[in-house]
Structure formats: structure tokens, C-alpha cells
């Protein structure tokens, strides 16, 4: 079974700023489906990812006070999904994954956070609104390729 990841960037008001499902195809290529694409795959469970991420925010909010690091590692689990989180000033980054990959996720978080900060600096981006930039998505996909599927 190939690894599956689901990344969500959650804003201050518990609203998703960015979501992407990441999985590797048979050919080893990493594909990502954000929101509208990747429609056929696990369609009936797509909302489950949102549920899990949203509910794990409680744990994130609890755990983040117990540590100095931004990366919270695995904080929660639901069925086969593990939840890792990164807490930043602007948003909370949450990854659902079905296999342990602590370092990979940490690096992935680091890169995505950097990308996210660049988005924040974009004068055409309103903070707190969903990120709908294809370039950002592509870069996240590249980061996933680099850190999560190797």
C-alpha cells in the first residue's frame, strides 16, 4: 500500500486555508488533489479527512502549550490515520498520514511553511482567505515529492 498524506493549513478561525491530498501513483509519481481534483478517489471519505483534521485541532491547541517546538509530531490518531501538526504564528499545519515518517513530515512542514510565508507576503493575498494559487499547489507537491515520497 502506498502512503497517503493529506495536508491542511488551518487559519485562526479554524477555517481551512489550503487542503491537498497527496498520494503516489503506481508509476511512483506523486499526485496531489486539492479540493476539486482527484475526484474519484475515495470520494466518500474525503470529508472524513476534514473531520479528522478539524477535530484534532483541539489536541493541537492543547499540546502546543506543552512544548517549545513548533513541530508537534504525532498528536492524535483516528483509525488508521495519524495526525501530525506544525504550529505557526499564522496558521496550523496538519498532516494526516497512515505511516510514521517523522523526519520527512518535519522537513515537509518546514518547506510548506516557507511557501506559506511567501504567500502571506503576496500583496494580492488577503490573509485568512483560502489560498487558490496553482503555483503554491505545485510547490507543495514538489515539497511532498521531496520529503514524503522518497
Amino acid at each position: 500500500m502506498t502512503n497517503q498524506y493529506y495536508l491542511a493549513i488551518v487559519g485562526r478561525h479554524d477555517n481551512p486555508l489550503f487542503e491537498i491530498e497527496l498520494s503516489a501513483t503506481k508509476g511512483g509519481d506523486v499526485i496531489g488533489g486539492s479540493r476539486e481534483q482527484n475526484a474519484n478517489k475515495r470520494e466518500d471519505h474525503k470529508h472524513l479527512n476534514q473531520f479528522i483534521v478539524h477535530s484534532s485541532l483541539d489536541i493541537v491547541d492543547e499540546v502546543m502549550w506543552n512544548t517549545n517546538s513548533m513541530y508537534l509530531k504525532v498528536i492524535d490518531k483516528f483509525n488508521e490515520w495519524l495526525v501530525s501538526a506544525l504550529v505557526t504564528a499564522g496558521a496550523r499545519f496538519i498532516v494526516l498520514h497512515d505511516a510514521k515518517n517523522e523526519d520527512g513530515i518535519k522537513n515537509f512542514f518546514g518547506e510548506v511553511y516557507e511557501l506559506f510565508v511567501k504567500v502571506l507576503m503576496n500583496p494580492f493575498y488577503d490573509i485568512g482567505t483560502p489560498i487558490e494559487m496553482p503555483a503554491f499547489e505545485k510547490k507543495v507537491l514538489n515539497a511532498a515529492r521531496k520529503h514524503l515520497f522518497n
Binding site: 476534514q50 473531520f51 478539524h54 477535530s55 489536541i59
Partner: protein
């Protein structure tokens, strides 16, 4: 939050004393009178508040507070396990669990042989205890307590008393009770009255009983809205009535444990209002007291002494055994196996189980602990549970171990001792053992319930939630859902509350509820969770919740909630894939349809109430969520016809008729255009109709097309019978197509009847009635398809038929899933699923920001574009243009027939046309009545030589009155008028705007005037570029020796016209056009033009050619100086016809009209202010002004030239002749002698046409700086040699000392392939014009500036005038007819500056000496042989030399000095040579080439 106290209570009530009651039939009968069984009768009194005192085994007094009982019938304590399972799955059962019981025996006093009955029942009980394992009794020796029930109302008191005496005697007073009830006679009649006074403590319990019925049946009774929110349920501390079974660890308890409780899930209000039976109707308050006393007696006298005794006995037994065996026993037991703990196989877990005999030491210990627990002696209980736990653990009796571990933890909690901290791990190990070792998830669940209750009491809500989640399993949906719901509840209790976790687990619980068929519970879970997920943008999750809610609500027939849920699926941007959206939509439509049917039925039911007066009304339409209406894009167009407003305004049909209704929906709002319309309207309203100036401030331009950009603060005025078109922009946000059917507008018409002013306004709307035909007519669009994610506009017309107010409030349509709406053949299926609904139209005005209030709040202006005033019928002008041209050449004139038609009601008058471009069209100003359509544009007049016509100069403004027959146009009539259109001077697309203004003849209450706007688009192509200049002539009467007059005649001038064909330059692909110059006319106050006789006729300007025409102009009124301020100027028209037989009337329409409208006239008359028209070329005006200022009056000339031309054009294979006219102003005469000023004057005249030319061609190169300005008039140059040194200045005199010319072959054939260089001898002939010898110096070295102009052909007509005699000379006609390939290079090199007075120069080189110095005797002539070398085929101007001359000085002077004295002579005429390579592709010179030198010679 749950306090410790309440957790205590919960646990206490979870472990009640279980009392088994045996009741004789007659005793039962007594109770039945109250609709109650004996057990039920006692139930409200089973929690007495009393403090019992017992002595514990160590003889210390122990207080038992508020004991808790459960009395059950002896026989029916057990529900078979299969049945229990069913109940479990059916609903949440709350069947009480059994425990080991203590007995009670009841007999009625009415029993004939009461004593015998007692005895029998005791025996029966003993019998059963021995035979059956059920029920399980706590002790082998049961407590028997005898109750004698007496019915006070019916029974025999004395007999009862006697019985009581004997009973007391038989069993002792402490074991008996005499219970008297039913003191009140049962009376049906005062049933109701009594029930008010006597409290009914039973109903609450009996209600619990009712809920034992399967919940599903009660669900259907639930009314929406009355359903209690589950949050209330959650707040209620769950009672754990189930938990008692943990007291026992016997395997048989499994059965009863199946009845897992969750009685907290009963819905409040269920069956509460069901017709309730009255309980205790025969009981008075004193009866209640008696019952209370009975319980008290039973406990204090019967139960407590008994239990105290049993406790003591057990304690002694256990201690004795402990002393005897101690640990030794347990060790040996292990080794020898022994007979006591026997291994048996648990049927459920398959695990070898250790079974103990009932009287084994371990079981006794356990029993002792249980008893101590029941008696609230938790210290003792904990001690024994604890030691039992150890023993069971050693025995590996896991089930028993888990039980005591659990109870030890509970006892410890109840003990609440500071010394002994709560052993959480006991609980955990108990649950773990149940789950993993014993595989008894139900036990684990029960244990979890206890554990979580304690955890919650200790504030460990999070752990409690986790504990709940741990015992969920895949297999048991209902149980898991309950547990998950509890977990969610715990998350909510946590500090800080974990709302998101709570919501998620509610979703999970809801999911499991729905899997187990508990739709109501599922629904409430989802609804509760939705509160958290709402508006957080977790769209997939939200959609899932909404969809589930919708489905469940639908199944539960709660259609309005289902609808709401489905509707919210479309409230945000739907990210679901198409098939999911399709599903959503289908469900939504389906539910909606059913909902509407339901509502309709309801309404039908209501309308059964007879109300004949009420008109047939329809229910207000529901509001649909799809598609999205982009509110502020709504536009409203007031129009006279419904078709053209939608399609393109200038739509042409077969007859080439264009209807004037340029305001269409296809146009976007253009603020500049709106402004120009407004200024035109203002101009016509205040300029022509002499309205009060003070009302200027209130002037509002009339708007036809209302959009968000227009001022919508006033209600638009729509005329009865005319159309209102509403355009609505709608957007489909989904990935599937939407089908809208029967789209129409919803309006509200408020009619104001004039007859009775006090009468009510009659309001009628098509939303609720169908009888509106005579009020408003509105369009219905049958079908409208919106593809996925499409944004489209929909246009609907509406036509008010009565005066009043019209409010367009909404759009209604039938929304359906596209796939339903069309069958295979594309036809609409009859039964397509669709829902009729509406959406409101609420455009908002601009955000206001004027007052403080507006600035601090978000305030929008009222927007009235959909609130119209319907006003009385008014005249309506329709204008159509017949044969309106779509493309014109610059200056082309076309005649258009305008048909004006009044289609409204009532006559109209005062028709005006206002335009920003009044110079581009002309209505015939006079006599429209006798106008007939002509083929030609110009009217012809017989040729009369030198004839001039007088006419008045016409003044134009941008408001033009349109002449109407009888100055009015009655309703239904039409009139045809001619209209001439001229192509503007600037090529490109020309918009001509027409604003027709007219007034109703009879005063209209609301409309003072009406407006019709039209814009015509004409694309203009360049045709001719004409420049003109004028210069003085010499008077002809005095001639010098050269035959040239030397007096300048100020009343005469030579006018030269430079006509250039620009047509091909612009439109490469189109056919070439030749222009025939028909006539040149002059318009001037004093000047007239004459031809220079004999003159060349039939002048044709072929493509890319340039033609020069010269005329003579004469001041007919010499000495008269123009009064510039004179407004009413009489002007003279003179014509020179260049066609033999035709003279065109230039003094009448349209020729003169366009002249006076053109910029030309204003250039001539700078003091006449052109009407303030925006389009007026500011530069032109400026130039005209400065020109007149700079020049002295002496050289002023006011001569306007009109050049009328004709051309054959082929359009779509049809050849037709077009005519046009150009206007050129001539304002100054260039003085002959003022050579230095020449370029400047030229610039004044030429700048404007030059600019035009550049715009037109775009490819024209800018003249290089320093080069000669193009278009230099040639005349002075040619006159120069023949002009004698006369009165002019010395310089001028000295410049004309030598005349020279060049002689050479006019054309040479040379093969450049053979020989690269062609050297041609040229003879320079120099003539001394003086009577003295001259020194001359010829310089060949100076290179002339080359100006490349892209003419490949240049044909020049030169009309040369020398003195009074006129020679018409065709000077040079060069035709270039070589093939393209070869000529391409030539083209680039050959082309000299044709505009610079024949300056066709190309580079050649003089060879040999480049300078000569000669002496020329008086009147002598010498020849010099020069050599010119050429290297390409071309046309060359050989006049590339300068001749300097000075009077001869004999004394030998320094050469340099002589040179400095020399003066450059006027150059000779250009002299062209044509070099051809072969005969075929050759430049041809026309046969007649005259050399000016020859002519002058001849003259001489």
C-alpha cells in the same frame, strides 16, 4: 458540571436494594383500583429520606442515609435473553437488572384465608429458591416481611383488624405491616377535580415505563420543533440504573447485562402528553403518608436488623476462614486443584473460567463486600473487595477479578478518603480484563459507564471520553453510537471544552445511530455537530452533514428541515464533483417538490373555509437557491420595441433599413458616452426650447438603460404600452447544467385611479393571481439552459398597460435538473421534475458616504431601477434610416432617406436633432414637402462661365431643427426626409450620434419631452488628400523685358491645389480607386476663382498619384476689407467645372451645407465661434486663429475651396459611382518676394492636411528635419528666372542675374548588367540676364538633401502662369510600369520628394570637375559640358548644382574674395532624366515634354 455529590447519588442509585415481592391476587386487586400494581404503587416511595442506624461488625454505629430500593415481583424478574437482545436493538431498554433479592410477602385483608395465603406463599418462595437458580438470592435465609393490605373503601375494617392481630401474633410485630389504602371512594365524576389537589407521584415512573416501548413507534409521533435538542440530554447527568449487576459476578448475570441502559436517551416529551391514565385515584394524601410509613417501617424494623445480622454473620464467617486457611489455603488450592474453583468454559469468551461455589471463601468475601457496599459502609467494602481482588488474581479468575477490581475502585470513590487515593488503574485493569481477557465487551461497557462517571466527578472528562471511545466496537452500532455520544458529551465538558472533538464524535455517533436505524438520534447528533462546522469553510464536511441531515429529515418526513439542509448545500461554492452535485440537486428538487405538494395540501385544507370574496390566490413562491443572480448586473431598458433591444441595434434587414434605437443591451455603460448624451440633451432642452435657466440645476438627463452605473435615485418613467426589458445576469455555480423553464418576472402593479383620488390603490401582482392580463403583459421564456459554471444574461420584457406604479420584485422559473428536462429528441418531457420558485431581484445602489452616519455604517442608496412609474401614453417617434452607409470614403457624400414615424399616441412637434458631429450630416433645410428622391447627390446646373451665385452663409449649431410638414407629426403618420452623410476627414471608425428631441403637442402630465438616441457607426477610408496654397501674381499690364509684369496684383492670386490619392495606401487589398475631379468651387465673401485658360479637363487622380491644379483667384470686391465681425455674411460661390457639360450647384444643399459645417469655414472665419462641440479639432481652430493673426491684412484671403470628385467603386460586384467633396481653406496669400517666410506660411496651411495624411497612411515617413517642407508651391521657383531685377531688394536682384538650364536626353536605355556605370553628358547652358559681364561659379559638389517619399508613381500637372499669358504645360508625366520584382529596389531609391515641388531626386554623381568658374559677358550665353554618372535605373533630377554669380570686377582679386561676393542664383527648373535598363520595363515619359527653358526662349 457534575458534582461529586451527584456522582455519589448516581452510583448509589445504581446499586439499590432489590426486594422481591410476592403478592396475592386479591392484594393486587386492591392496588389495581388505582391503575397501579403493588410494585408500582410503592415505587415513588422507594427512596425515603431517612437515616438508618446499624452496628457494623466491630460494633460501631454506622449511619445509612437515604437508602434506595427496587421492589420487583418475584416471578417476572427476568426477560429472556433473546428478547432482551431484541429490545436492545429496538430501543434503548431500561429493564431493571436483577440482583440478589430479599423477600416481601403481601396479602390483602380481603383474602378469605389470609393466614393460609401467607403460609402458602412462604412455602412457595422457599420451594422456588431451592429449585430455581433464578432469581438469585443474596442469602440462603431470606427475610420474610408480611404485609396486610386493607381497602378502606370496600373492605371490612373489623375483619382486617382481626387479621392484623393474628398476623402480628404469628410473625412478630417487626416482620409485619398493616397497610390501609383506598380511603377514598372511587368516583368517575369527580375524577378530574380530585386530580388537581392530590399529587400524582406515579406518573413520572409510569412514564418511564411507557418508554419501554420501541422508540421507533414513538418517533413517528414526534412533531418537528417539539423535539428536544439533544444538548439538553447531554446536560442531564446520565443515570446508571443498569449498573447494579456488577454486584454479582455470576455468569448468569450476562443475560441481564444485555439490557444495557441508556435511559438518558429518552426523549423528553415522548408520550408525556399521551392520554394519561390517572394513577392513585383512590388514594388521599393520608394514604400517601401511610405508604411512606410502611416503607419506613419495613426498612427500619425489618430490613436493617436483618441486614445487620447478616453482615455480622458473614464477617465472622469470612474472618474465621481467613484465620483458618489464610493464604495457605489459597496456595494449596492452587496446587491440589481442589474441588472449589472448577474450570468451566465461558460460552462467550471461550476462556477457561474459574467458577466458585456460592459458599466458597472468596464468594463469601465478595458477598460481604457487596453487603457492606449496599449498606454504605464503603470502608469495609473496599477492604474486602481489595482482598478479594488479590485472591481472584492469584486464582486467575479473571472475570471475578475484574468485578472486584471495579467495585474496589467504586468503593474507594464512594469512600472519598484522603488517605486512599482513587485507584484509576483498578478500573482500567477491570475494563481491560473484561475486554481482552474475558471478551465481554458488555461488561467492559458497564464498567466504563461507572468509571467515566467517576472520572467526570473528578474532572477527568477527557479521560472519560477516551474511556468511552475505547469500548466502542465495529459490531454494535447502537451501543457504539451511545458511547460515542457520551464521549462527545465528555469532550464538551472538558476544560477547556473540546468543541471540535465533541462535534466530530457527534458525527461519528450520528453515523452509527443511522446505521442502527435510529434516525431521530442520528439527526439530532448531526444537527448538533453542524453548529460547530457551520461557516468554517470545511465544505466537504459541511456538505456531508447537510446532506445527511437532509436525508434523515426527509425519511422522517420533516420536509421543511430537509429542505433547509439541502438548500444549504448550495449556499457556498460547491466543491463536490459533478455526480455528487447532480445527486444533491436531484435530492433537493425531489424534496422540494414533495414539500410543495405538502404545503399545497395544507393550503387546500385551509381554503376549505368558504371565502367566496377572495380572489383565487396562489401561495407565495418558494425561494430557490440556484442559480446565483448577480444582482447589480441587472439592467432595465425602456424601449419601444422588444426585439431590437435584445439584438444588435444597427441590425439590417433586406431593405437596408436601420431603425434608430441605439440604446441596446449589447452596449456596456460608457461614462463618456453618457456624458455626451447628457450634454446634448441639455443643449437641446435649454438651447432650443427656451426653458427657464433656473431649472438647469434640476435638469436630469433622461436615461433609457438603467444599470448600476446610472443614477437610479428616481423612478424611471415607463410609458403605457411600451416595453421594459429587464436583463438579469445569472450564474450557475455547479459543474452540471441547470435547466430553467417558464422564466418570467414577478411584478406588482399599483394602479392609481384618477376618478376617485381617495380610492385605495389597487395592487395586483402576478405572483398570487392569474388575472392580470389587462394590467401588465410579461414575457415567458420557455426554456433557458445554463451550462456548467456558466454566467449568462437573460432578457425578459414586460409591458405595462395601465397607469400606476410597477415594481419588478423577483424572477420566477422552474428549476430542474437538466437531464430531466429534455428527452432524447430535445423536446420537453411532460412530467419533468422541476420546482417552481423565485429569486428576489434586489439591486442596491451606490455605497453612500456623505453624512457621518453613512460613513460609519454601510449605507446604500436606494435603487429604483426596478420600481417604475407607469405614465400615460405619449407620442413615440420611430426613426429609420434607409440605405445608411456603413462605410464611406473621406469626404464621400451619401444620401440617406430618413423615415420618421409617430407610433405612440398623440401628435408630436418641435423635433430637433442634436449631435456631437453636426458637420457630418445635413437635413435638407427647406421644403421637405416637395423633395423627391434623386439618384445623384448634387443638383446640376447649366454651365455659365464666370458665373457666381450669392448665398448666405449658414450657421450651424449642434442642435438642428428638423422640418416637419405642418410642423407636426400626428400619431400613426410617417414622413420621409432626405439626409446627407459625409465621411469625415479623418479615416477610421466614425460614430455619429443622433439625439432626436421632440415634444408632445398636447401637454403630457409627466413627460415634457422625449428623447430618441441613435448612434451610427461608419467606417471611413481615406480618399484624397488636398492641400492648397495661394500666391500673388504680377499685374499683367506692365511687362519688363522678360515679358513678366513686376507689379504684384493684390487682387489676384494663383491658387494651387495639390491633390493626392491616398486610397490605396490605406487599404492594400481593396481595388484601386481613381478619382475624377468634377469641379472646383470656391466659397468666399469676396473672392471668386477662374480657370487659367485653356485648362485641362477630365483630370483623374489614379492610385498613388498626385495631381497639382492651379487656378486664378480674383477679388471681386477690391478694396473692401472683410468685416470679420459680421455675422450675417453674404458669400459668393464660383465654380470651375472640370467636366465639359456639367456644373454642379455648390450653393445649395448638400454641398454648401457641408462646407459651412466643415472646419474649413471656421478656419476662414476665425471670429465665428464654432458651436461648442466636443469633437471639434482644437488644433485646427488654433491654427486658423494664429494664422490670421500673424499675417498682415494685406495678404489675407478668405477663400474656401470645395473640390467635388467622383469615383467608381465596386462593392460586392456592383459597380456604382460615388461622389464626395473636400474642403480646403486658403487664408493667406504667399507674397512672391518673401522667400524666407515661405516655409512658415506653408506650415500654417499645410500642417493640418499633413497631419491627416499621416493618420491616414500611417506609413508616411516624417519629413526629415532640415529637409524642405513638402508641398512647396512651385510657382515662385519657376517664375524666378523670368523675373527681372526690379523694385525688389538688392538681394533679390542679385539672385536673378543668371538663368541656367540643363540639356540632356530625357530618357536613356542602359543595360546595367553589362556595364555598371552609365555616364551621360549633360550640357549646362547659362544665360546672363544682365547688361554687364558676370563672374559665375558653378558648384556641383553640394549634395542635396534627399527626402524619400513613397510614391512609386508621380504624375504632375503643372499649370504655369507667366504674366498675363497662361500656358498649360504638362510638365512631366512619369509612369513607372516595371515589374514589381525589379522595381522594388528602384522604388526605394527612386522616390524623391515629389511634394517638394517636383523634387524627384535620386542620387547620381557628377563626374569630372565639380566646380567651374567662368566669365559671362553681358547677355551672353555659354554652354558647359558636364558628365553625370548613374548606377541604377531610376528617374533623376539633374538639377543638383548651384550657380553663383557676381558682377565682374576687372581688377584681379583674390578668388576667395570673389566667392564671398557671389550670390547664389535662383535654381533652374528641375530637369529629369529617366534611365531604363531595357525597353520593356521602362519608365516612360509622356510624349510631350516641354522644357521651360525652351518656352522662355521662345518668348524671348
Amino acid at each position: 458540571m457534575v458534582s461529586t455529590q451527584s456522582a455519589y447519588e448516581i452510583i448509589q442509585s445504581a446499586f439499590p436494594f432489590h426486594i422481591a415481592a410476592m403478592c396475592s391476587d386479591d392484594a393486587e386487586a386492591v392496588c389495581r383500583k388505582n391503575n397501579l400494581s403493588f410494585v408500582d404503587l410503592l415505587r415513588p416511595f422507594c427512596k425515603p429520606t431517612l437515616e438508618g442506624r446499624i452496628k457494623d461488625p466491630s460494633n460501631l454505629l454506622h449511619v445509612v442515609r437515604n437508602p434506595n430500593f427496587r421492589i420487583m415481583y418475584f416471578s417476572n424478574q427476568f426477560v429472556p435473553s433473546a428478547m432482551a437482545r431484541k429490545m436492545m436493538s429496538d430501543a434503548v431498554s431500561r429493564h431493571p437488572p436483577s440482583t440478589e433479592s430479599i423477600g416481601m410477602i403481601v396479602v390483602s385483608s380481603s383474602n378469605p384465608d389470609a393466614m393460609e395465603a401467607y403460609r402458602k406463599m412462604v412455602a412457595d418462595q422457599m420451594q422456588r429458591q431451592k429449585q430455581s437458580s433464578q432469581p438469585k438470592w443474596f442469602f440462603p435465609s431470606t427475610l420474610h416481611y408480611f404485609v396486610l393490605i386493607h381497602d378502606c373503601a370496600n373492605g371490612d375494617d373489623q375483619k382486617a383488624e382481626a387479621l392484623w392481630e393474628s398476623l402480628r401474633a404469628a410473625y412478630g410485630v417487626n416482620s409485619c405491616h398493616f397497610l390501609k389504602i383506598n380511603t377514598k371512594q372511587h368516583n368517575e365524576n369527580d375524577n378530574m377535580g380530585n386530580s388537581v389537589n392530590v399529587p400524582d407521584p406515579w406518573s413520572q415512573y409510569m412514564h418511564d415505563k411507557l418508554s419501554l416501548e420501541p422508540l421507533d413507534t414513538s418517533n413517528s409521533n414526534i412533531l418537528p420543533g417539539k423535539q428536544s435538542p439533544i444538548i439538553k440530554e447531554l446536560k442531564r447527568p446520565p443515570t446508571l440504573s443498569v449498573l447494579g449487576s456488577s454486584l454479582s459476578t455470576d455468569s448468569e448475570m450476562t443475560n441481564s447485562n444485555e439490557h444495557l441502559a441508556g435511559d438518558q436517551y429518552q426523549l423528553d416529551g415522548v408520550a408525556a402528553d399521551a392520554d394519561r391514565t390517572k394513577y392513585g385515584i383512590c388514594l388521599t394524601l393520608s394514604d400517601h403518608d401511610r405508604l411512606r410509613n410502611f416503607i419506613h417501617d419495613f426498612i427500619v424494623r425489618g430490613l436493617y436488623p436483618y441486614l445487620e445480622y447478616m453482615l455480622r454473620t458473614l464477617y465472622e464467617q469470612v474472618n474465621a476462614r481467613k484465620g483458618l486457611h489464610g493464604k495457605f489455603f489459597s496456595v494449596t488450592k492452587k496446587w491440589f486443584g481442589g474441588n472449589k474453583p472448577t474450570a468451566s468454559t465461558n460460552s462467550q469468551s471461550g476462556l477457561p473460567e474459574v467458577a466458585y461455589a456460592g459458599d466458597s471463601h472468596e464468594m463469601q468475601m465478595r458477598r460481604l463486600a457487596d453487603l457492606a457496599f449496599l449498606l454504605q459502609h464503603y470502608d469495609l467494602a473496599y477492604t474486602f473487595y481489595h482482598s478479594a481482588k488479590k485472591e481472584f488474581h492469584t486464582d486467575h479468575a479473571w472475570l471475578q477479578f475484574a468485578g472486584v477490581a471495579e467495585m474496589a475502585a467504586v468503593s474507594n470513590f464512594m469512600l472519598n478518603s484522603a488517605q486512599k487515593p482513587y485507584p484509576m488503574h483498578y478500573m482500567e485493569s477491570a475494563i481491560g480484563t473484561y475486554l481482552s481477557t474475558c471478551k465481554l465487551p458488555l461488561y467492559a461497557t458497564r464498567c466504563t459507564f461507572l468509571s467515566t462517571e467517576i472520572m467526570k466527578a473528578k474532572g477527568l472528562n477527557n479521560d472519560a471520553a477516551q474511556a468511552y471511545i475505547r469500548v466502542t466496537s465495529e459490531d454494535f452500532d447502537l451501543r457504539s453510537s451511545l458511547l460515542l455520544e457520551q464521549a462527545a458529551y465528555c469532550f464538551n465538558l472538558a476544560k477547556p471544552p473540546m468543541k471540535r472533538k465533541c462535534a466530530f464524535h457527534l458525527i461519528l455517533a450520528g453515523h452509527r445511530f443511522s446505521k442502527s436505524g435510529q434516525r431521530t438520534h442520528a439527526l439530532s447528533c448531526y444537527k448538533l455537530a453542524l453548529q460547530t462546522y457551520k461557516k468554517k469553510a470545511w465544505h466537504l464536511a459541511e456538505d456531508h452533514i447537510n446532506f445527511t441531515i437532509g436525508r434523515h429529515s426527509y425519511t422522517l418526513r420533516d420536509l421543511s428541515n430537509a429542505l433547509e439542509a439541502f438548500r444549504s448545500l448550495f449556499s457556498h461554492k460547491c466543491l463536490q464533483p459533478a455526480n455528487q452535485q447532480n445527486l444533491f440537486l436531484r435530492e433537493f428538487l425531489n424534496v422540494y417538490k414533495q414539500y410543495l405538494t405538502q404545503v399545497e395540501k395544507y393550503n387546500e385544507f385551509n381554503s376549505l373555509v368558504p371565502d367566496v370574496q377572495a380572489p383565487p390566490t396562489r401561495a407565495p413562491l418558494p425561494i430557490l437557491p440556484l442559480p446565483i443572480i448577480i444582482q447589480n448586473s441587472t439592467r432595465v431598458l425602456l424601449t419601444n420595441s422588444k426585439e431590437e433591444c435584445i439584438t444588435q441595434g444597427d441590425r439590417k434587414d433586406e431593405t437596408d433599413i436601420v431603425r434608430a434605437s441605439s440604446v441596446t443591451l449589447t452596449q456596456r455603460f460608457d461614462p463618456l458616452r453618457a456624458k455626451s448624451w447628457a450634454s446634448l440633451e441639455e443643449a437641446v432642452v435649454f438651447g432650443k426650447t427656451k426653458r427657464d435657466k433656473h431649472s438647469l440645476a434640476n435638469f436630469r438627463p433622461s436615461i433609457q438603460l438603467f444599470s448600476s452605473k446610472t443614477n437610479n435615485s428616481y423612478k424611471p418613467a415607463a410609458v403605457v404600452g411600451e416595453y421594459i426589458v429587464v436583463e438579469i445576469v445569472i450564474k450557475n455555480p455547479l459543474k452540471i447544467s441547470l435547466f430553467l423553464g417558464d422564466v418570467t418576472l414577478i411584478w406588482r402593479h399599483i394602479s392609481k385611479t384618477d376618478s376617485d383620488t381617495f380610492g385605495e390603490n389597487k395592487i395586483i401582482s402576478n405572483e398570487n393571481t392569474t388575472e392580470y392580463d389587462n394590467f401588465v403583459e410579461s414575457e415567458v421564456i420557455d426554456s433557458f439552459v445554463l451550462a456548467q459554471n456558466e454566467e449568462k444574461s437573460i432578457q425578459l420584457y414586460i409591458r405595462p398597460l395601465k397607469i400606476g406604479e410597477l415594481e419588478i420584485s423577483a424572477i420566477t422559473y422552474r428549476l430542474s435538473n437538466y437531464s430531466f428536462a429534455l428527452d432524447s429528441s430535445g423536446k420537453r418531457m411532460t412530467g419533468s421534475v422541476g420546482v417552481c420558485g423565485k429569486q428576489e431581484l434586489r439591486p442596491v445602489g451606490n455605497r453612500l458616504n456623505n453624512t457621518e452616519n453613512e460613513r460609519f455604517n454601510v449605507v446604500y442608496a436606494t435603487d429604483n431601477r426596478l420600481h417604475l412609474n407607469v405614465v400615460a401614453p405619449a407620442p413615440l417617434l420611430e426613426v429609420s434610416f434607409c440605405n445608411f452607409p456603413s462605410r464611406l470614403l473621406c469626404g464621400e457624400i451619401q444620401q440617406v432617406t430618413v423615415e420618421l414615424c409617430n407610433t405612440g399616441s398623440g401628435p408630436l412637434h418641435n423635433l430637433y436633432v442634436a449631435s456631437s458631429y453636426p458637420e457630418l450630416f445635413s437635413f435638407s433645410d427647406d421644403k421637405p414637402d416637395n423633395w423627391s428622391e434623386n439618384d445623384t447627390v448634387y443638383s446640376k446646373v447649366p454651365v455659365i462661365k464666370y458665373h457666381t451665385r450669392h448665398n448666405k452663409a449658414k450657421k450651424i449649431t449642434n442642435v438642428i431643427a428638423v422640418p416637419l410638414p405642418e410642423s407636426k407629426l400626428v400619431s400613426g403618420c410617417s414622413v420621409k426626409l432626405p439626409l446627407w452623410i459625409i465621411g469625415s476627414a479623418i479615416p477610421g471608425v466614425q460614430e455619429i450620434d443622433f439625439l432626436f428631441y421632440y415634444e408632445p403637442l398636447e401637454p403630457h402630465p409627466r413627460l415634457g419631452y422625449r428623447i430618441l438616441k441613435h448612434v451610427s457607426l461608419v467606417s471611413i477610408s481615406s480618399s484624397l488628400n488636398i492641400t492648397a496654397s495661394a500666391c500673388n501674381t504680377y499685374q499683367g499690364d506692365t511687362e519688363n523685358e522678360l515679358g513678366v509684369s513686376d507689379r504684384i496684383d493684390l487682387n489676384q492670386a494663383i491658387v494651387s491645389l495639390n491633390i493626392e490619392n491616398l486610397y490605396q495606401l490605406q487599404r492594400v487589398k481593396s481595388t484601386m480607386l481613381s478619382f475624377r475631379i468634377m469641379q472646383v468651387s470656391s466659397v468666399s465673401p469676396h473672392w471668386t476663382i477662374y480657370p487659367i485658360q485653356p485648362y485641362h479637363k477630365d483630370i483623374t487622380v489614379t492610385p498613388k498619384e498626385k495631381v497639382l491644379l492651379c487656378f486664378k483667384a480674383r477679388n471681386s470686391n477690391p478694396g473692401f476689407i472683410d468685416d470679420e465681425d459680421c455675422q450675417d455674411i453674404q458669400v459668393l460661390f464660383s465654380n470651375i467645372s472640370l467636366k465639359d457639360d456639367i456644373e454642379l450647384d455648390s450653393s445649395s444643399t448638400p454641398c454648401s451645407d457641408f462646407f459651412f459645417r466643415s472646419g474649413c469655414w471656421y478656419a476662414l472665419m476665425p471670429n465665428i465661434n464654432k458651436p461648442s462641440v466636443k469633437s471639434f479639432n482644437q488644433n485646427e481652430k488654433l491654427l486658423a486663429g494664429t494664422g490670421s493673426r500673424r499675417m498682415s491684412k494685406k495678404f489675407d484671403i478668405r477663400l474656401g475651396l470645395v473640390i467635388i470628385w467622383e469615383s467608381d467603386i465596386e462593392v460586392d460586384g456592383i459597380r456604382r459611382t460615388i461622389t464626395g467633396q473636400h474642403h480646403v481653406p486658403v487664408t493667406t496669400i504667399i507674397p512672391l518676394n518673401d522667400d524666407k517666410d515661405k516655409p512658415k506660411q506653408e506650415a500654417v496651411n499645410q500642417k493640418e492636411p499633413e497631419k491627416r495624411k499621416r493618420i491616414a497612411t500611417g506609413s508616411m515617413e516624417k519629413p526629415k528635419p532640415g529637409s524642405k517642407p513638402p508641398g512647396r508651391p512651385p510657382l515662385p521657383a519657376h517664375l524666378a528666372p523670368s523675373t527681372p531685377p526690379s523694385v525688389k531688394s538688392a538681394d533679390e536682384f542679385r539672385k536673378r542675374m543668371v538663368k541656367y538650364k540643363l540639356r540632356h536626353p530625357s530618357s536613356v536605355y542602359h543595360d546595367f548588367h553589362n556595364k555598371r556605370l552609365c555616364i551621360i553628358p549633360v550640357t549646362l547652358i547659362l544665360q546672363n540676364c544682365r547688361d554687364e559681364p558676370l563672374d559665375i561659379f558653378i558648384n556641383l559638389a553640394k549634395a542635396k538633401d534627399k527626402t524619400l517619399v513613397r510614391y512609386n508613381l508621380c504624375r504632375i500637372y503643372i499649370i504655369v502662369l507667366t504674366g498675363p499669358r497662361v500656358y498649360i504645360l504638362i510638365f512631366h508625366v512619369l509612369k513607372f510600369s516595371s515589374t514589381k520584382s525589379k522595381s522594388e529596389e528602384n522604388l526605394n531609391t527612386i522616390i524623391g520628394d515629389a511634394a517638394t515641388a517636383f523634387g524627384l531626386t535620386a542620387s547620381f554623381t557628377w563626374v569630372g570637375n565639380t566646380a567651374y568658374k567662368r566669365r559671362l559677358e553681358a547677355k551672353d550665353q555659354i554652354c558647359l559640358s558636364l558628365m553625370a554618372s548613374f548606377c541604377v535605373c531610376n528617374v533623376y533630377n539633374l538639377n543638383e548644382l548651384q550657380v553663383y554669380a557676381a558682377l565682374h570686377r576687372d581688377e584681379c582679386e583674390d578668388t576667395k574674395k570673389i566667392r564671398s561676393n557671389m550670390v547664389e542664383q535662383y535654381p533652374c527648373a528641375d530637369s529629369y532624366i529617366v534611365l531604363n535598363s531595357t525597353k520593356q520595363d521602362s519608365f516612360e515619359l509622356d510624349d510631350t515634354i516641354y522644357d521651360i527653358a525652351d518656352d522662355t526662349n521662345d518668348e524671348d
